[in-house]
């Protein structure tokens, strides 16, 4: 279902394989942007290959939006450059924007216009003879085209943003937090639209602060933190590193420090008061049997969220170095 166009590439420093650099659709090259009090980004380098869905992950304020705005030539780099469709986006800004569909993470629309009027205006600015896929996409997203934007809910506004990014069948889609405000059903409809765009030869660059959200559609992901690129990897490789976070609270004495050493796929992350937090990858059985020897009050386990996975990755990267 999910198209994977490249063999898994698990090199942590960006998967910058020289064979693929020449035909990358987007190349971010040593990109740095510093401004005012905001953090910006520092020395980012990565490529987006034609036909892939590239997830751009990081906590809020990490520099995702700054990177995206540099890509769209809305702001200008302090150093480095972004090359898209073979030329510097500073130099061929209009051409890049003609071939790109963009959804802002801080979407603002004309309050007095209806979605259909937005479509007409943007179609005119793009020099299109008609509304492209506009009406079809609106139907898929269950969006009414003729109510003024000011009367729309947050979710419906987001649908308008998606519509405006997609209606002209762009070769490259740049989407900043696209599912914000969408209910789960609509998120599925949106991902289906994305898959169709990719099957049709499109390339997608989307940002998110939640890995769980991206992992179902993305081929590769990059993670950024505090303005720096932390890793670029395939989703396959990341999944293999993912773990379940298990928190066990005990009534009596805590198990000794070495109690969980040597269990396969189990690693102790931290302990506080009467709670021990463990990372589990692989089958749960050995851990369950080990825990059974102590008086367990509560047992809480959940899929590690993005923060856990990346924190863990950063930690192990640090150990390796």
């Amino acid at each position: 279902m999910r198209p994977i166009r490249r063999p898994p590439d698990s090199s942590v420093d960006g998967g910058r394989d020289p064979c693929h650099m020449a035909d990358a659709l987007v190349s971010v090259e040593r990109l740095t942007k510093t401004y005012g009090r905001a953090r910006g980004v520092v020395d980012l380098s990565f490529d987006v290959q034609p036909g892939e869905v590239f997830g751009f992950l990081g906590p809020n304020g990490a520099g995702k939006t700054t990177t995206i705005r540099l890509l769209l030539d809305l702001i200008r780099p302090t150093a480095g450059r972004v090359v898209a469709f073979g030329s510097d986006v500073r130099r061929s800004s209009r051409e890049v924007r003609a071939r790109t569909g963009y959804l802002s993470g801080d979407l603002r629309l004309y309050e007095r216009l209806t979605p259909r009027e937005h479509l007409r205006y943007l179609a005119a600015l793009r020099g299109l003879p008609d509304l492209g896929d506009g009406e079809a996409i609106a139907t898929r997203l269950e969006l009414e085209l003729d109510r003024p934007v000011r009367a729309l809910s947050r979710g419906n506004r987001q649908k308008v943003g998606i519509l405006l990014a997609l209606f002209h069948r762009p070769e490259l889609l740049v989407l900043d937090e696209p599912t914000a405000g969408l209910d789960p059903l609509m998120q599925q409809a949106f991902y289906a639209l994305l898959r169709e765009r990719v099957a049709d030869g499109g390339t997608v660059f989307l940002s998110s602060h939640v890995l769980a959200e991206v992992q179902h559609v993305a081929d590769r992901v990059a993670a950024i933190r505090e303005g720096r690129l932390e890793l670029v990897d395939t989703v396959e490789a990341l999944r293999s590193r993912a773990f379940t976070r298990v928190e066990a609270t005990f009534t009596g004495a805590l198990p000794p420090g070495h109690a969980f050493d040597g269990l396969s796929g189990v690693r102790e992350l931290e302990r506080r008061n009467s709670t021990v937090v463990l990372a589990l990858s692989g089958p749960a059985d050995p851990l369950v049997k080990a825990l059974a020897r102590y008086e367990v009050l509560t047992l809480d386990s959940h899929e590690a969220d993005l923060e856990d996975v990346f924190l863990d990755l950063y930690r192990s990267d640090g150990d390796a170095a």
Binding site: A98, Y102, S104
Partner: protein
């Protein structure tokens, strides 16, 4: 109305245009309606003649202060202050909204995600500003002409048009400066405040010039001086004074695209 940025901008200005038109026409109607009373009351004119020079300096419009002639009355009551005030407010507001307003509303990003060059975008905003201000001038001329005919004022359509054109050029100059400053800073309120302050300063320089010798030299740089200096209600426009206004509008308007071209967009 959604074919391009200029047309969309004019579409957005429709409602405001209606109110500015009502304001201009209403003001003209009121002033013109009072004219017969003033004309037929020589005592009032003698009283005005005794006004201190400072006051006369502010209520004059190019020539002598004279409430009995139609040109003198319209100059003092409308063109010396109220007409430029209203046209400037409309033009500065539109100029500041053009880029800075759209940027603060966040919709500039939507426009710039389309393959429209920044220069083109600002030039279309300039075109909309010119159309809007000229249209307000047309409303003003028509109101004046209708009003003047109604109370048999001795003033020609050509002279009314000349004075209005001068006012439109003045408003365009400040509107273009607002467009430029808005394009450079992205801040609407700041732009309005700075440009309004510039206009007040220029107005004071031009009005006080006859009384203060230092200002008499400085008046040449005041757009308000050139606005009234040729006494357009009596003598029509003169190129010497119209061209500086036109040049100011053109220079500010044509610099504006470059102001936006160079900077980051949407960075609060």
């Amino acid at each position: 109305m959604l074919r391009n940025v200029a047309a969309k901008t004019l579409r957005d200005l429709r409602r405001g245009f209606l109110w500015w038109s009502v304001g201009l026409a209403g003001m003209v109607a009121l002033m013109v309606a009072v004219y017969p009373t003033v004309r037929d009351n020589p005592a009032l004119n003698r009283f005005v003649e005794q006004y201190p020079d400072t006051l006369k300096a502010f209520i004059g419009f190019g020539g002598e202060v004279d409430y009995t002639s139609a040109a003198g009355y319209l100059g003092s009551e409308l063109f010396s202050f109220m007409v430029p005030l209203l046209l400037l407010l409309a033009a500065i507001g539109a100029g500041a909204r053009a880029v800075a307003g759209e940027e603060e509303a966040g919709t500039l990003e939507l426009l710039l995600s389309c393959p429209v060059s920044r220069r083109r975008l600002v030039l279309e905003k300039l075109a909309a500003l010119v159309v809007e201000t000229t249209a307000l001038g047309a409303v003003l001329v028509v109101s004046l002409w209708v009003g003047a005919r109604a109370v048999s004022m001795q003033v020609s359509l050509a002279h009314l048009a000349a004075a209005t054109t001068s006012a439109v050029l003045l408003a365009l100059a400040y509107g273009a400066i607002a467009l430029l400053l808005g394009a450079a800073t992205g801040r609407r309120a700041l732009t309005v405040a700075v440009v309004a302050a510039l206009a007040v300063a220029a107005f004071l320089v031009a009005s006080l010039a006859p009384l203060v010798s230092v200002l008499d030299v400085a008046k040449e740089v005041s757009p308000f001086y050139h606005y009234s200096a040729s006494d357009p209600l009596r003598h029509g426009l003169s190129a010497v004074h119209a061209l500086p206004l036109l040049a100011l509008a053109a220079v500010a308007g044509l610099l504006a695209p470059f102001a936006l071209e160079r900077r980051d967009v949407g960075v609060g």
